[in-house]
């Protein structure tokens, strides 16, 4: 209890700061991952000549460990591309890279899963391929894949703890720092674990509720 009062409560501001960095990095990484993933998936599906490069990109992202990607983006990219110049940017970029590979496959499954009859109905009304994609395919793909997409966000939250190794001051980083200062790993790390559990648990239930309500609104079976 002493530890609780003297370390955890006294340093709640540090935990909060870490949490805020974690939130930022996850949200940025996820948005970038969605854009990259959708792009890669569209290229793979619809741009014949670039199918191979897109496939290689997707497989690369999915099949390299996040730790390797993190170090690679952080130490190699600045020399190769002159970017990123901050640990923070390297952190979200590496996370986005990995997630984009998984999201690309999720989007693909969603797009390929759209009933062909729905597309024929669109074509028979004179809709162009682009309009069909925008109005019919993409909304349905997102709706059907919502649980997987949200799950990918939770995976990303958990992976984000790794950015602490390149000195991004996220929640995990703050916890490690406090541990190094106070030598009370049991309390500090347990509290940190508790925070992550709380976040992931709440988000996953909120997402599930949202996905079900969405499907319920359209009168569709629950995913």
């Amino acid at each position: 209890m002493d530890v609780w009062r003297s370390i955890i409560l006294k340093n709640l501001n540090l935990f909060a700061e870490g949490l805020w960095v974690t939130t930022q990095i996850c949200v940025i990484a996820f948005c970038v991952a969605c854009a990259l993933g959708l792009g890669a998936c569209l290229v793979r599906l619809y741009v014949r000549p670039l199918r191979l490069p897109a496939t290689i990109y997707i497989e690369f992202c999915r099949n390299t460990p996040i730790y390797v990607q993190l170090l690679w983006v952080n130490y190699v990219w600045p020399d190769l591309f002159g970017w990123p110049q901050s640990f923070f940017a390297a952190g979200w970029m590496a996370l986005a890279l990995q997630s984009s590979g998984y999201l690309a496959e999720t989007f693909r499954a969603g797009i390929e899963g759209v009933d062909r009859g729905h597309l024929q109905a669109a074509h028979s009304l004179g809709m162009s391929p682009f309009l069909t994609f925008r109005s019919i395919i993409l909304p349905q793909a997102l709706l059907n894949m919502a649980p997987s997409i949200m799950n990918q966000f939770l995976v990303l939250v958990k992976s984000s703890t790794l950015v602490s190794v390149i000195a991004v001051p996220d929640l995990m980083y703050q916890a490690m720092r406090l541990t190094a200062i106070w030598f009370q790993p049991i309390e500090i790390l347990s509290f940190t674990a508790f925070l992550y559990i709380l976040i992931v648990f709440c988000l996953s239930h909120a997402f599930k509720l949202y996905a079900d309500r969405l499907r319920g609104r359209y009168g569709l079976a629950m995913a």
């Binding site: 009304l125 309009l131 109005s135 009168g219």
Partner: protein
């Protein structure tokens, strides 16, 4: 050589093969011409030279055994599956191909095909309503985005059509909450919203429970009575006999019978048609 339907908008003045001796007036009334259409999937020959003219106001029922190529024919007509050979004309305009100055035939551009598709409504066995859009939005989507109709105008049109198919109270509902018969009536309204010149139905009632087929057949019958030109693939022999003025029997991708219902049903020339009908009227 003579040109087809000179009164309608032709995009090119290339010669068009047509039956000789047909009166000009009759030619004018030909809404859909299917001329020697063949379709093969690899080695599988599904359509083997189908020809017919559909005149304004014709309601033609297409009957035939499962696998005889009826769906493929409809899909060839609106180029969902382009024919391997033969021609389709919509109001005299080549549908899916272009003839250049030297007489060479090439596939038409997708945007031209899409322009013509707007004039051919299609109703599917599986309804194919878009599940993420309300009933109203299912109907207004194409008029607004393809025909560039104002949203308010499209909405009004959709409500008129929904009233016509008796579903005005369902306008804000989503398709998954409708019965099959209701979904199919929405699908008919969706096709009608583009103000098509021809309506094609591919076994529109085949996936419905028997007690729901009536409401859909009634809508179709009503359309025919209003003078809509229709091509109706169906297993409903009652509809074919009473609501259509022509019946075509297809066997293995060929037209075996084409005539008024009385002739095809009561006095078929083809032995196969007779056998098919005796099986259909058990």
């Amino acid at each position: 050589m003579e040109t087809l339907a000179a009164g309608t908008a032709r995009r090119d003045a290339s010669p068009v093969p047509s039956d000789k001796g047909l009166a000009k007036a009759a030619e004018d009334a030909v809404v859909l011409r299917v001329s020697d259409v063949h379709k093969a999937f690899g080695d599988l020959k599904v359509l083997n030279g189908i020809s017919f003219d559909l005149r304004r106001g014709d309601v033609m029922s297409v009957i035939g055994a499962s696998g005889s190529g009826k769906s493929t024919l409809l899909r060839c007509i609106n180029q969902l599956d382009p024919p391997t050979a033969g021609e389709i004309y919509l109001n005299g305009v080549p549908f899916g191909f272009r003839v250049d100055a030297s007489g060479k035939r090439t596939p038409d551009s997708l945007s031209n095909i899409n322009r013509l598709r707007q004039d051919v409504g299609m109703v599917f066995q599986q309804f194919n309503l878009w599940p993420h859009m309300s009933v109203l939005r299912n109907i207004t989507e194409a008029p607004v985005r393809v025909r560039k109709m104002a949203k308010a105008e499209a909405r009004e049109l959709a409500e008129q059509l929904l009233a016509k198919v008796n579903l005005l109270d369902k306008r804000d509902e989503y398709p998954a909450r409708l019965s099959g018969g209701q979904q199919q009536r929405v699908a008919i309204a969706r096709a009608l919203a583009m103000n098509p010149k021809v309506m094609m139905f591919d076994e529109a009632t085949s996936s419905l429970d028997p007690e729901l087929t009536g409401e859909v057949l009634d809508v179709m019958r009503g359309l025919g009575e209003e003078g809509m030109t229709m091509l109706v693939v169906t297993h409903e022999m009652g509809f074919a006999r009473e609501a259509s003025n022509r019946v075509m029997f297809i066997h293995e991708g060929r037209v075996e019978e084409d005539g008024p219902p009385e002739q095809v049903f009561d006095n078929p020339k083809s032995e196969r048609c007779r056998a098919f009908l005796s099986k259909s009227y058990r």
